[in-house]
């Protein structure tokens, strides 16, 4: 038994933030019914991207341009614990399945709207994707090197955070419902999630009037040195062949251990590196020395040498490293092939939920489903419809 078995979620989300949220809940056993339509190409249900974020869900096809399809959606919403979408504001209302309509008879239902900017406010209609949010929320500006211009994040970080926050919000509302007996509406602004991610810097600005600036691999507020990524022996000339090692010394013990692993070179006993404070003041020079030491060494061997000596160190891993040579992920079976081949994509893969429940393990990973693949099962389970009735709906173009 997985921990969320018995929770029913009607899922109208698309792209990443919403689907990631419902994937988390599906991985933990919730019955997530993903509503899609042949007329909504945005979700492209046979693409690799879709397949990754929609595992463990059931697929229902509904042509929401039809009134009879909307009636099916209303019936489903009446059976749901959670209805979630990340459309522009008001779409579910226009379909007749908004919170006010449904909660009048299903007062337990929880509605989550995961829009870019939230409901209300001068920017509420603005269109955003994760890179937009990164820029607006200060993450793009702050992730970079001093005087180097904004670099920002190399992936859609905030979509994952918004998805995680969506999951937290839903489970929080379910806990509140246990006390109050009622569901409620949740308005989750992906922009506000992003702004919370730089909360410490915002507080520093309000309290001290200080502006945060990019600081490379150093910490914005604390003084540790060394604290950086150092280049090791490359495997070839391509940027993907570069090997880097992150090394951090947070206290005198870790620094002394690093010196010991480096075989106590003369420079590390220099007065300018004698204290934590002086090492921070001379961090650029310190980095030069460490780079010279790591430069022709094997990153993996060096990582083990340093970790064995008690110095935090880790190789910078690419996606290839994570899949092919990360012994920790392999030991945990972090990446596994789905049990059943995907009808279009063939063999597909899952990176497992990084939550290990002692008594309710989440070890079921089912491939994403193609459009309408679970029409019969979902409508039988949720609405008690017969297979014949479902097939009729498919023939009539309602369930497509």
């Amino acid at each position: 038994m997985r921990p969320l078995e018995g929770i029913r979620i009607l899922d109208f989300t698309h792209v990443l933030a919403g689907p990631f949220c419902t994937r988390l809940l599906a991985d933990m056993g919730a019955d997530v019914v993903k509503v899609n339509s042949a007329k909504r190409a945005a979700n492209a249900p046979n693409s690799p991207y879709y397949a990754i974020w929609n595992r463990n869900k059931r697929a229902l096809a509904l042509d929401m341009s039809r009134e009879d399809a909307k009636e099916v959606a209303v019936s489903l919403a009446h059976q749901a614990d959670v209805v979630i979408d990340n459309f522009s504001l008001g779409v579910l209302d226009r379909w007749g399945i908004g919170f006010d309509e449904i909660s009048a008879t299903n007062d337990q239902v929880i509605y989550v709207q995961m829009s870019g900017m939230g409901s209300g406010g001068p920017w509420s209609d603005f269109v955003t994707y994760a890179p937009t949010i990164h820029a607006l929320a200060g993450m793009t500006y702050t992730t970079g090197v001093p005087d180097g211009g904004p670099i920002g994040l190399g992936f859609s970080y905030n979509d994952h955070q918004a998805g995680l926050h969506g999951a937290v919000a839903i489970l929080t509302a379910i806990e509140a419902r246990r006390e109050t007996g009622k569901g409620q509406q949740i308005d989750l602004s992906q922009f506000e999630v992003g702004a919370a991610m730089i909360g410490v810097s915002l507080l520093d600005y309000f309290v001290n009037g200080r502006e945060a600036h990019p600081c490379g691999n150093r910490l914005p507020y604390d003084m540790f040195a060394p604290h950086g990524c150092y280049q090791c022996r490359s495997k070839g000339a391509d940027i993907l062949d570069e090997r880097w090692l992150a090394i951090v010394c947070r206290d005198e013990n870790e620094w002394q251990s690093l010196c010991s692993v480096m075989a106590e070179p003369e420079w590390c006993r220099s007065e300018i590196f004698r204290t934590e404070k002086s090492r921070c003041e001379n961090a650029d020079l310190l980095d030069e020395h460490i780079n010279a030491w790591t430069n022709d060494q094997d990153a993996n061997e060096l990582m083990h040498l340093l970790q064995d000596a008690g110095v935090p160190a880790g190789i910078v891993q690419t996606g290839i490293d994570l899949v092919e040579s990360d012994p920790q992920l392999q030991a945990h079976g972090f990446i596994a092939s789905m049990e059943e081949p995907h009808p279009i994509l063939g063999e597909t893969f899952a990176d497992r939920l990084p939550i290990y429940f002692e008594k309710t393990p989440c070890d079921i990973y089912k491939r994403s489903r193609i459009l309408g693949e679970d029409n019969v099962a979902v409508l039988a389970d949720w609405l008690g419809m017969s297979e014949d009735a479902v097939r009729e709906g498919e023939q009539a173009g309602i369930l497509t």
């Binding site: 921990p3 690799p48 603005f126 937009t132 820029a135 607006l136 929320a137 200060g138 993450m139 793009t140 992730t143 970079g144 090197v145 904004p150 670099i151 190399g154 992936f155 970080y157 979509d159 995680l164 999951a167 489970l171 929080t172 806990e175 509140a176 409620q184 949740i186 602004s189 922009f191 506000e192 999630v193 702004a195 909360g199 915002l202 507080l203 520093d204 309000f206 945060a212 990019p214 490379g216 910490l219 914005p220 507020y221 604390d222 990524c229 880097w244 992150a246 008690g310 935090p312 880790g314 996606g319 290839i320 920790q328 992920l329 945990h332 972090f334 893969f349 990176d351 939550i355 429940f357």
Partner: protein, 388 residues
Amino acid sequence: MPTRGEALQQTRVVDLSDDKSIYGVKLLADMGADVIRPEPEAGDLLRHRGPFDEESGESLWYSFFASSRRHFTVDEASSASLYELNALLGCADLCFLGNENTLAERVNVEAAQTRNPKLVVIDVTPFGSSGPWRDFKAPDLVASALGGSSGITGDDYTPPLKLFGELNFTISGAYAATAALAGLYHAHQTGEGQRIEVPVHECIASSLEHVFMWYYYHEHFPNARAQALERRGSLHWTNLYVVMPTKNGAMMVTPTPNIEAQLAWLIEEDAFQDLLDSKFEEPENRRHYFERMMDVIREWVATEDTEELFYKAQERHAPYGWVQTVSQVASNPQLEARSWWQTAKVADRKVPGPGIPFHFKDTPGRIADSEWLEMDANSVLDAVGWEK
């Protein structure tokens, strides 16, 4: 502290987290959970994390991450004090453990779960309790490197970069909160608590968007030259989102989701150059068309005022993003209009502070002042007000 009409007001939490999961506890605390964060006599190590209030010296890092808690001191040399600490677990719903919180080693989880079978314990560590790296040390930068986020952050002229501030450990924190609430739901349904492990390494690896897709399905993408993408600044894996310099700042620019509308805009601005050339209608040139379009947009954007361009784009439903500094975020009209800011107490001052990232219609959360528990009561449990 509880009974504020908030979503988690009935949830009792013992917070022995460290920096890897303290954000997750904050999410629960700000939604009304009654969170007790015990501290060793020497003080919580996380109170030494900067930045600090220049007037009082108080840690702003701690003010943000340890919001809405109650605190008391544990004398680790006193068996009576440790007994009291362990007694708390007998009445708690959730207990967060962090491997760098010294008090986490002083609680007997197994004994607590025997006394309190519904207790859910969330143990957040760098790598989990098994595997060859289980004893590795992994502060943020190392976790970021091993977990894969540094490998795709930075540019070809920089080293791989860690994400700014606490962006890695807020991921593991949010996972920890998710785990806790799922465990709590199960405990309410069945009466069965449990221990839950959350390895930070896997949290980071599971939140890298395209990375595993690129490895397994790179043949689906015409611009893939290997099973991994190199670090390449802000350029998204689709090649269609990137930060460009403007006349007076920077803008995250994308022609998606409506490429034709972007072209129409460039035509209106008389900035379309050769994008209407018939050569781009040939299927084999389609990819070059997108590359060319990004180049054309870059030249045009470089002549535009950032703020004007941003609002013009959004009027056209183009998801451009104005690259904002922290002070600009602090004065953002959308956050202001949605009353996102809340009051934070720093030393004796009340200042604006970041709010809660979700709005509950009926049971809203709030950032509450932290409290220091008066310990003249007979026991910690009496002081806390939790029933035995």
